[in-house]
Amino acid sequence: MAVLELDDLSKSYGAVRALRSTSFQVRAGEIFGFVGSNGAGKTTTMRITLGVLTPDTGEVRWAGRPIDHATRSRIGYMPEERGLYPKMKVGEQLTYLARLHGLGAAQARSSMERWTETLGVDGRRDDEVQKLSLGNQQRVQLAAALVHEPDILVLDEPFSGLDPVAVDVMSGVLRDRARAGVPVIFSSHQLELVEAISDRVGIIKDGSMVAVGGIDELRQVGAPRWAVTTAVTTPVTTAGDDDTAWVSDLPGVRAVGSEQVRRAGGAATRVEFETTHEGSEQAVLARATSRGRVEHFGRVTPTLTELYRDVVSAEGSDDSPDDTDGDEATTEVTS
């Protein structure tokens, strides 16, 4: 099975190290979600894959061979900075791009027709790109990435600025392409979306991959997390420390946090904890039942957003000096 391998990529812009030995693989037919803060190195990685940038070290391979110019023209690319000729008609433009990628005139034309239909912009073929709404321009941009029937898809922020319907169309197209055996790499700040459609995820931070794998695999990273909810018959005192103390003093257990759950029948306390030894959670369960009625006890599966926060904040927040838009990144990620 063909694999797209990004192997030990490094790239510096002057004193700024944008990529440090970044490596990961995307298999044919797999959707790979690529996440990371702004300035973490996603766009640089994608540009290197497309040959738009040359890495300082490392190489990108497809099916075991370094990607050359011929292979590169078989990649469908959606750059982060959207770009089409503003004064060129949609149909003409897509046909031109298909031909630049090596399709014959008739083939290019029929492919343009098919993709404009699939993406719902077939009524705008004779309009100049600049006359389209931003959402439609985005659809044309995706059509530009797909019009030459690429063997590999590299999409930088394909979902940004799309309305919910367009998000569905885009997700559908990515799934469909993957089903056809195309490896798909896409970057996004919308982590729920990444979680929903990716087979595997890579998290990049300061130019290094900090986590790569299936989301289920990533969930296994670090200590298992649990939650126990017990009904509280007597109102707890104001001191919150007491809520977790009964958990924390057990061996191999670390309390993560607690919250009061109020509802019609009274109140309950939910405590989250991590276990460092297998089986420690059983001791917690035993103690919980002795304290009161256990309403819920179970494993907590973190969402990608939580995983992302853990991974990205794990090694401290040593923001590199170039990371000037860090604030923006945080808000986008947590939204």
Binding site: A2, P79, R99, A180, G181, G214, D216
Partner: protein
């Protein structure tokens, strides 16, 4: 968790190379797009139409100016004065006066012809006693010629009366002309040549200027709209650059050929130039050759410079050195060169790359350039093109993906 873990990827499409275009087809596609886009643009159509109109109209104006000069005299001769006809024509040829002689039946018919505007004058009487009938006043040149013919006739009569031979006397008299030795022969001023030289200089300059602008705007348009990243993901920078240069160059060539061709055709149709004196076809061909060289010289330099900026507003400033460089030979080419095509300044500039393509064709039109001079100029201009292509490609490749502030040439050359 909704990842479809059980999805089985279908066998992959292995990379195919058979559908991938070669460098040549990429350049052809880019050039084709440039030509299609520009040829249908209003600016290009208007410029071309105006230039063609200018040379055609210029030809007609020149024609009017030339024919309103010393006007040709249509002279009628009555039968009694028929003997005057030959000496009149000879005298006219000698003094450079344009006189057409026709015979009229009699004086009355001649007078009628003058009133109708068919004749300017009618010669009556007979040799030695000639009369001239005109509408209002006698043309000076005609008067001089007729006087001389009349006097000659009177003189011949006198010589015959004295027993001499008028013919041998006339031969002796005409042989008695003083011999003239010119120390500094005056340059013969040929208005047709002058106009051709001027038109050549202006045409090459305007076309180089407009195509240079188109190219610079095209480069920045791709950069500003960011489409360049999409393009460079499939074709190489040098292919994109070459395609643009070839496409816009072809448009310019079309324009030059159209204008030079219609200029030459107009001049030939109106008989403005003496084909023996000035070969318009060759001049037009030289214009095309020099346009191509000039375009190659300036196009790569301008495209490289334009790739340093990211906004159309900055295009003017970044290509200013090259437009200024075009202005110098242009101004000298149309102001000084037509009058002094051999002045050292004109000659030296016409050898240099960047200047030669704008001045040498003017000198060629003026027939002032020796073949070796044309050879030097061609060789130098051609030699500089590969160097410019190398520099421009390097700058373009390094700068075209860098957005934002204007990039320093030094940085663009350095970074790989």
């Amino acid at each position: 968790m909704s990842t479809a873990g059980g999805r089985t990827p279908t066998p992959t499409n292995t990379p195919t190379t058979d559908r991938t275009g070669t460098a040549g087809s990429a350049i052809r596609l880019v050039a084709g797009r440039e030509i299609r886009t520009r040829v249908t643009s209003k600016a290009f159509i208007i410029t071309t139409v105006l230039l063609v109109l200018a040379v055609v109209a210029g030809g007609f104006v020149l024609n009017l100016v030339q024919s309103s000069g010393p006007e040709g005299q249509r002279v009628g001769v009555v039968p009694s004065a028929a003997a005057v006809e030959a000496p009149l024509e000879a005298g006219a040829a000698e003094t450079g006066t344009d006189i057409t002689v026709t015979e009229v039946a009699d004086e009355a018919a001649g007078e009628q012809a003058i009133r109708d505007g068919d004749l300017d004058a009618v010669v009556t009487g007979s040799a030695g006693d000639l009369g001239i009938v005109v509408e209002s006043d006698v043309d000076g040149a005609l008067w001089a010629v007729l006087s001389s013919v009349n006097q000659q006739a009177a003189l011949d009569d006198a010589i015959r009366e004295l027993g001499g031979d008028p013919a041998s006397v006339a031969a002796d008299v005409s042989a008695a002309e003083p011999t003239v030795t010119t120390l500094e022969p005056e340059e013969e001023f040929d208005p047709a040549r002058y106009v051709t030289g001027l038109a050549t200089g202006i045409l090459i300059f305007i076309t180089l200027m407009t195509t240079g602008q188109l190219l610079a705007q095209g480069v920045v348009e791709e950069k500003q709209s960011r489409v360049v990243e999409l393009l460079l993901a499939t074709i190489r920078p040098w292919q994109l650059l070459t395609g643009k240069v070839v496409g816009i160059g072809a448009i310019g060539l079309m324009q030059v050929a159209l204008v030079a061709g219609s200029g030459a055709a107009t001049a030939t149709a109106l008989g403005l130039v003496d084909p023996g004196e000035l070969d318009l076809g060759a001049t037009a061909a030289w214009v095309v050759v020099w346009y191509v060289l000039g375009f190659l010289t300036y196009a790569f330099a301008i495209a490289g410079a334009a790739s340093l900026v990211s906004r159309q507003e900055d295009v003017g400033a970044v290509i200013a050195p090259f437009t200024a460089l075009m202005m110098i030979p242009y101004i000298i080419g149309v102001s000084l060169a037509p009058w002094q095509p051999d002045s050292p300044l004109v000659a030296w500039l016409s050898y240099l790359p960047f200047c030669g393509p704008l001045i040498m064709p003017v000198r060629i039109a003026l027939d002032a350039a020796a073949p070796w001079e044309i050879g030097i100029s061609l060789a130098l201009s051609i030699a500089v093109v590969p160097v410019l292509v190398w520099f421009a490609s390097r700058i373009y490749s390094n700068a075209v993906l860098r957005m934002g502030a204007r990039i320093k040439v030094k940085d663009a050359l350095r970074s790989a």
